[in-house]
């Protein structure tokens, strides 16, 4: 099993944190994972990109070469990376931030607002991705989220990761919240 | 006086390194003498004393002392000394350096160590030039003076090393010349006793380098120059305000003395606090 995930957007969206959580959760679930990132020097606003490779075998090349999932949280990110995806891969974009055709538009930001704060859109995305790739048990994903967020924000982030999972489940049907 | 000198020599000097490299009329030998008397008077444990130095004639001093010595790279002695002292605070750390070594290439390490206030003693021999390399201009060479790299006269103004030290935060700062042996010894003692960065600048002759270029070719000429061109802090205070304002002589004496928190003390407090927290957590 190998899943290659690329997440792009701009600095300040918590993209790298999302990559770290996915990678760490994968290792807690017993897999190998490598998480890498690229960004400009600006803390906010510059382009940011996180990559996660999850595998049941030791990972040699640590970067994504054939993305199974590409997530674009900014128009610029989509323009740059949106078309580089495996044949059987999927491209997700945030419905509020990216206009694109032939991709899956997901309301990460809107869902985050419903959960409580726009800023947890990245955690909504983590919940969604975790369910999509379907190799990390959700409770492992939740405990990893908790280990990586500031104390005092547990409820908000748990709400976000569950809302993200539920978003995915509702697209494949049969979600009863379990 | 002679017997005491011999006693000091027998007790502290590394025989295999003698005689020294210093030129006739050089003041560095005096600096060695005064320093050894100071540590002898205090009763420093020589086995727990480390002498550090950079590069230059003054920096050769640790080699002549039968003790642990760290003769390092040009300008960096104070940084090396910081590592020695912070790691093993029970050691007394004394740095020998010169005007070029400390205030030229070493300027940054000098001001930061003073700011940081790590417990050490820095003895800076100021002979107004880079002597070992033949007499080039240094950051303390008086304006208009000659040197091998300022054959037409120095176009730059010199540092006042003591003002720098005070400005950087050193809690003990003193400056003396060859003409004041007992005051110099006392200043070195005070600097050693200071819990923090103790700085002593000692004006010393370099008849071969600076002296040769600037009509100070022997010891007597240099000692006269010091007499005419320095004024003690006490004598300065006795002048009228106008005279004081007009003073151009180098001020010598204990120029700054205060008590302030020392770096290692604060670090130990932090470590103790953290470890108490950890014990509390378990």
């Amino acid at each position: 099993m190998k899943k290659e995930i690329r997440i792009c957007g701009f600095g300040g969206q918590g993209i790298i944190l999302a990559g770290v959580v996915l990678g760490e959760a994968a290792t807690r679930a017993g897999y190998r994972a490598v998480q890498t990132q690229s960004y400009g020097p600006e803390s906010r606003g510059g382009a940011a990109r996180a990559e996660v490779v999850i595998s049941s075998e030791p990972i040699d090349y640590p970067r994504v070469s054939r993305p199974d999932v590409v997530v674009a949280l900014s128009q610029a990110g989509y323009d740059r990376f949106g078309r580089d995806v495996a044949e059987d891969g999927v491209v997700l974009v945030d419905s509020a931030l990216v206009e694109a055709e032939g991709v899956t538009s997901v309301p990460f930001t809107r869902t985050a607002e419903e959960v409580g704060r726009k800023i947890v859109a990245n955690i909504v995305m983590v919940g969604y991705l975790g369910a999509l790739i379907d190799v990390i048990p959700h409770d492992v994903l939740e405990s990893t989220v908790l280990a990586n967020i500031p104390s005092g924000t547990e409820d908000l982030n748990l709400g976000a990761v569950r809302a993200g999972r539920d978003l995915w489940l509702s697209t494949v049907g049969g979600n009863d919240g379990s | 006086m002679f017997n005491q000198a011999k006693k000091i020599r027998d007790k502290y000097i590394r025989d295999e390194m003698w005689p020294s490299i210093f030129c006739t009329g050089c003041g560095i030998g005096n600096v060695l003498n005064y320093t050894l008397r100071a540590i002898d008077s205090i009763g420093l444990d020589i086995d727990r004393t480390v002498f550090c130095s950079g590069i230059g004639c003054s920096s050769r001093l640790p080699g002549y002392i039968e003790a642990d010595g760290l003769h390092t790279t040009h300008g960096r002695a104070i940084a090396f000394a910081t590592g020695v002292k912070v790691y093993k605070p029970e050691l007394s750390v004394i740095v020998f350096t010169g005007d070029g070594d400390m205030a030229g290439i070493g300027g940054n390490h000098f001001i930061h160590a003073a700011r940081r206030n790590v417990d050490m003693t820095v003895i800076c021999v100021n002979n107004f030039n880079y002597g070992m390399t033949g007499g080039q201009v240094s950051p303390t060479t008086p304006a208009e003076d000659l040197s091998t790299t300022t054959p037409y006269g120095n176009l730059e103004e010199p540092f006042d090393l003591c003002r720098l030290a005070i400005g950087a935060g050193a809690p003990f700062v003193a400056r003396w010349t060859m003409g004041f042996p007992y005051e110099t010894i006392a200043a070195v003692e005070s600097a050693i006793r200071t819990k923090g960065f103790g700085f002593v600048e000692i004006l010393a002759p370099c008849p071969t380098g600076y002296g040769k270029a600037n009509e100070l070719r022997d010891a007597p000429a240099n000692w006269d120059w010091y007499k005419e061109n320095t004024i003690t802090r006490i004598d300065l205070a006795r002048l009228s305000p106008d005279e004081r304002a007009a003073n151009r002589k180098i001020v010598i004496g204990t120029l700054w003395q205060e008590e302030k928190p020392e770096y290692i003390e604060r670090w130990h407090q932090l470590v103790n606090r953290l470890q108490a927290d950890d014990v509390g957590d378990s």
Binding site: A33, T36, Y61 | D47, T72, T73, G83, V86, K88
Partner: protein
């Protein structure tokens, strides 16, 4: 001489045995598990995380962490602390590494154990501060003036950042020499799972202390093997340490050509003569292969990817990974290159270690390079193409 690590106390501070961590952070863990008790450093991308991690962890273990005024002061303080008895290190990147070269030479000349981590970034000069590179490799070997030997390790994973930093401390003590851990901005900032060693997996090798009394002790004479015993400052041995050419007593001997020759040859030989024992490589040889790769550091990950792809396409490829880049494992590389017509050396530079490989294989395999600069690590496909069509000329 072996020292004990207070494992329980250290693990209480480090926390869990398994972590998902960055390479820089793993270097810090490796240092602490390697017995480090003094760190001095200066902020520089992409190495700053090493200093920040040490600043949080080491004081809880009673060790000292100092941010010095520049990289020169950092290495100077490390050397001073080492002479006071510390297992000390610093971490930097290219521009700081350049500044430290004088200090590295001083540590070689005075036989001071110390560790320097260089998280290499794209140069020359300020270059691309946030992008990885492997452009300091020959500088690692020859950055400081004069004849000397250097030990340089090249981690290729976050786990190796930990393991090789641990090893670096032991090697520094054993050989009384600076040891470089040459990582890069990619492995320094990427996250992988690491496993901290168990208590029985840890052995702290320490410098040999004097076996005789102060009066009899000759500080720079090797009485046990090739490396002299080292007395810490403050133990009554009155050691004079100088960067000047010195005799066995440690006293300056600059006018003596024979003394200088004796000293410098000893400094060099103590490492060269032990190269077989000291060097480490990882070999994946395929019988019948005619083409091979010699790699190190992050590019070894790209190389491993290339081997996988090439073999899946039916190619026979052999791969040697240098773990110690210096001393260069000449024997191992020559043995590896035995039946190979061509060797490809992938590097994030315009050709550095490929020269060393070529020199070692003079008259044997053809050596080519795969170079990539600008920040992206080498895609495995590029190496595969070089294996088939040929790489760039060295």
């Amino acid at each position: 001489m072996v020292r004990e690590l207070d494992y329980r106390r250290v693990m209480k501070v480090l926390g869990s045995q398994e972590k998902f961590a960055q390479g820089d952070v793993a270097c810090a863990y490796g240092a602490i598990l390697g017995g480090c008790d003094f760190f001095a450093g200066y902020p520089i991308t992409p190495a700053t995380e090493v200093a920040e991690t040490m600043a949080i962890l080491l004081p809880r273990l009673g060790g000292a962490v100092m941010q010095m005024e520049d990289e020169i002061a950092s290495l100077s303080a490390v050397i001073g602390a080492a002479w006071a008895g510390s297992r000390a290190f610093t971490a930097t990147s290219g521009p700081g590494f350049s500044l430290m070269q004088e200090g590295i030479g001083y540590a070689c000349m005075t036989e001071t154990p110390c560790v320097i981590i260089n998280v290499q970034r794209s140069g020359p000069s300020t270059g691309q501060p946030t992008e990885p590179a492997q452009g300091d490799m020959l500088q690692a070997r020859w950055g400081t003036h004069g004849d000397h030997e250097i030990i340089a390790l090249a981690p290729a994973s976050v786990q190796e950042c930990l393991d090789l930093t641990r090893l670096a401390f032991n090697l520094a003590e054993e050989y009384r020499n600076p040891v470089l851990v040459m990582t890069d901005g990619e492995v320094g900032h990427m996250r992988e799972q690491i496993v901290l060693p168990a208590e029985d997996e840890i052995e702290l090798v320490e410098r040999c202390r004097p076996s005789d009394d102060p009066g009899a002790h000759v500080p720079f004479r090797a009485v046990r093997g090739a490396v002299p015993e080292m007395a810490s400052f403050g133990t009554g041995f009155h050691t004079y340490v100088t960067g000047l050419t010195h005799d066995e007593r440690g006293l300056p001997a600059t006018d003596d050509a024979e003394e200088h020759t004796r000293l410098v040859r000893r400094l060099v030989d103590k490492i060269r003569d032990d190269a077989d024992r000291l060097t480490r490589v990882e070999v994946d040889s395929e019988e019948g292969a005619k083409v091979g790769i010699v790699s190190y550091g992050i590019s070894a990950r790209s190389a491993a990817g290339a081997v996988r792809i090439a073999r899946a396409e039916g190619q026979k490829i052999s791969h040697l990974r240098l773990i110690t880049v210096f001393p260069f494992p000449e024997k191992a590389v020559r043995h590896f290159a035995g039946g190979l017509d061509r060797i490809v050396v992938p590097e994030l530079n315009l050709g550095q270690i490929c020269h060393v490989v070529r020199e070692a294989l003079e008259g044997g395999s053809e050596v080519e390079r795969v170079s990539r600069i600008g920040g992206e690590i080498i895609p495995p496909e590029e190496i595969v193409r070089a294996l088939i069509e040929g790489g760039e000329r060295v």
